[in-house]
Symmetry: C2
Subunit: 230 residues, 2 copies
Amino acid sequence: MRRAVVLLSGGLDSATVLAGAVRDGFEAHALTVRYGQRHAVEVERAAELAGSLGAASHRVVLVDLAFPGGSALTDPSIPVPVPDRERAIGSAVPVTYVPARNTVLLAVALAWAETIGARDLFLGVNAVDYSGYPDCRPAFLDAFEALAASATRAGAAGERFRVHAPLLRMSKKEIVLRATDLGVPVGRTISCYDPGPGGLPCRRCEACVLRARGFREAGLADPAVMEAAP
Amino acid sequence: MRRAVVLLSGGLDSATVLAGAVRDGFEAHALTVRYGQRHAVEVERAAELAGSLGAASHRVVLVDLAFPGGSALTDPSIPVPVPDRERAIGSAVPVTYVPARNTVLLAVALAWAETIGARDLFLGVNAVDYSGYPDCRPAFLDAFEALAASATRAGAAGERFRVHAPLLRMSKKEIVLRATDLGVPVGRTISCYDPGPGGLPCRRCEACVLRARGFREAGLADPAVMEAAP
C-alpha cells in the first residue's frame, strides 16, 4: 500500500482530495497546518474529517504564517472582502492571499513525507473556480515537484516525489459532484473565510460565493448552509 | 536601499552572510526560525548577532519541524553523531539531516520577503566543507528560485526573487577569514549541534569538527572554543 501525505484544511476541496486518495488505495496520512488562519475552526473539522474519511493518521502542525501580516486570512485588522460580483473573483490576487502559503504547506508536507517514506503529496488546489492565487496554478505545482527532487535525501538518491492536485482543472460544480460521489460529509466541511460560531458560513465572502455557485450548478443543496440557516 | 531577508541561525555561516549583506548595502531583515532544534541557544545568539551586525529588523518565527522526527537535530532520543574521521564527513547524508529543512526555511523567508517588498533572500548554505545535506547544493537553490517565481503574487506579476548563497563555494577556511574581515563577533556564533550550558561547543560533533578545521587552516584561534576551554 503506497503511502501519501494529504494536506487537509477542513474545507470541501481538501476533504474531497483525501477521500479520493483513500479510494484510490493510498495509505493516506493527513496533515493540517495551523498557520494562524482566522478560520481556526477549520482545524477542528479537519480532525473530524480525517477520521470519517479513513486517513491512516492525522497531524496538526504549527507554522506561524501570521507574522508577516498583509493577508485578511491571518490579520484580524484586515476585513475579509465581500465581492460585489461573482465574475470579479479571480481577476486579481485578493487580500485573502497568504504570501507563499502553499509553498510553506507543501514544504512541511514534504518533510513529513520523506520521514515516513511517502513519495506522493496531495493538495486540493484548483485553478478554475478559484480566487486568483498564484500558488494554485499548474506551473507552481510543477516547480515544487522539481524542487522536491533536489531538496531531499530521497530525491538526491533518485527517488521522485509527485504532487497530486486532482481538482486542479475541475469546476466547483464538478468538485461538489465528486465530493458527493465519494461520500464526503460535505456539511461538515468549512469553506468560509470568516465563519461564525460553530463554523457557520458567512455566505458573503469569496469562498462562500464560489461554493454556493458550485452547489447551485450541481443542482444540490449545501448542507452546511442549510444547517446554518436561521 | 534594497531590502533583503537574511536567514540567521546564530551560527558562523549565517552571521557572515548577514554581515556581508549589510556591507553590500542591503537593508537586511534577519529571520530566525525556531523549528524545534535541540540547539535552541542558537536562537538567543541570533537575536544578539542581528543587533550587533546591523540588521534592520529581526524576527523569530515558530515552525514545528520536530514533528516528523527522524533527525538528531530535532529528536532528543537520537544522539548527535561523533564522526570518527574528518574525511568521512559529507560522504553520506547524516542523521543530523532535517528533512526538507531548507525548503521550509526559504518558504517562510519568501513569505516575509513578499510582504515587506524584499526580492532578495540570503542564506548561509555551503557545498564544500559541509555535511552532505542535499538542500545545500546549487541545484536546490536554482530550483527554489524557479519556484518563487510561480509561488507568489510578486512573481506572477513578473518580479524576480533571487536566492543568494554567498558562501556556497567557499571552504570553511575562507568563511572564517571572511567572517573575520567583516568584523563578525565569531566568538558569539554557535556552530555546535549539541552545545552545553551557555552555548559551549561540544568539540566533537561534525559541525564542531568542520569549524575547527576551518579555523586551523585559517591560522586563527576560535574564540568560541577558547572561551569554552576549562
